[in-house]
């Protein structure tokens, strides 16, 4: 039996099919979840994927955060359900206060799409155990609102507790504080990041690298071994 990983589709989600594919490529079973359903269909983990939910019209992720499905995701995440937020999903997690801080428009005011170099800072979360701490990887990045901000105290706390999961290397593409590309909650089950690991699971496609696959194999191993 393999793990069942849910992928939520909100109106305006874009990477739901890609995320399902990445889950499949990793060997797990993707389960489509719909934003209007509170029911998570008994999945073992949830991915909130990229896109422009509700057009990102108010703030990125702000409207999606109030979807029925999020009520359940918030409850269960607090109880330990592994949740990964990618890009818009990360934004939704901060809006839902499952992760601290907030996301703002890129400091250069443009959308940016590039192959981004990152360092894995925390290889102990539910989604990162197949990486080594300190490992340098390339993951595609594409966003309009990728600037991570938080107050000094929150930043200090994140740094002190090792909760900065990923950091931009060589180039900060959006003005994120402390070069933060992704963070985790204290328990390590909820992780959010701006770059898109689901776009880096097949050679040939996209940048041709597969540096994103360990996200999905990490969680699979954790769930299957649990």
């Amino acid at each position: 039996m393999t793990a069942r990983i849910g992928v939520v589709t909100f109106p305006g989600s874009l990477d739901d099919r890609d995320t399902q594919r990445a889950i499949r490529v990793a060997g797990a079973e993707p389960v489509a979840l719909w934003h209007k359903d509170k029911d998570l269909k008994q999945v073992d983990a949830v991915v909130l994927c990229g896109g422009f939910s509700y057009g990102d019209y108010l703030r990125a992720g702000a409207i999606a955060r109030f979807s029925p499905v999020m009520d359940t995701v918030i409850d269960q995440a607090k109880a330990g359900l592994p949740v990964l937020g990618i890009c818009n999903g990360f934004q939704i997690l901060t809006e839902a206060h499952l992760l601290p801080g907030g996301m703002l428009g890129n400091d250069h005011l443009h959308f940016i799409c590039r192959d981004q170099k990152l360092r894995v800072e925390n290889a102990d979360t539910a989604w990162t155990t197949d990486y080594e701490a300190g490992q340098e990887i390339h993951i595609p990045l594409k966003n309009m609102d990728g600037r991570y901000v938080a107050d000094r105290r929150t930043l200090d706390e994140l740094e002190a507790e090792g909760r900065v999961a990923f950091r931009y290397l060589d180039f900060n593409p959006n003005g994120s504080l402390n070069d933060i590309a992704g963070i985790t909650n204290a328990a390590g089950n909820v992780v959010g990041l701006m770059p898109h690991p689901e776009h880096a699971v097949e050679s040939l496609i996209g940048t041709g690298r597969t540096d994103g696959l360990p996200f999905f194999t990490s969680i699979l191993k954790k769930l299957v071994n649990a």
Binding site: Y54, G55, Y57, L58, I63, F66
Partner: protein, 87 residues
């Protein structure tokens, strides 16, 4: 020092997808009784020196040529009084 506020809103006849998205979310949040929402921009300019007629006129020009896109947006310029009904 004084603060001048420029409010920029889409012209009423222009589609406002942002305001619409907010409005359509309201019932879900349990808010009734709001018949329309429009979303625009607010600029706060900190002006050195007195904000006299001439200064306001210049800011008006600035708003017209730069802060607002008058093809689709209207704007208003006003000097902001003391702190308003605070948060």
């Amino acid at each position: 020092m004084a603060r001048v506020v420029v409010d920029v809103m889409l012209k009423p006849e222009i589609l406002d997808p942002q305001g619409q998205a907010v409005q359509r979310a309201l019932p879900r949040l349990g808010f009734e009784g709001i018949s329309d929402v429009r979303q625009g921009k607010r600029f706060e300019l900190e002006v050195d020196g007195p904000v006299d007629e001439a200064a306001l006129a210049r800011i008006h020009d600035l708003a017209e040529s730069f802060l607002a896109n008058t093809v689709i947006e209207d704007f208003t310029v006003r000097v902001e009084e003391v702190a308003e009904a605070a948060k």
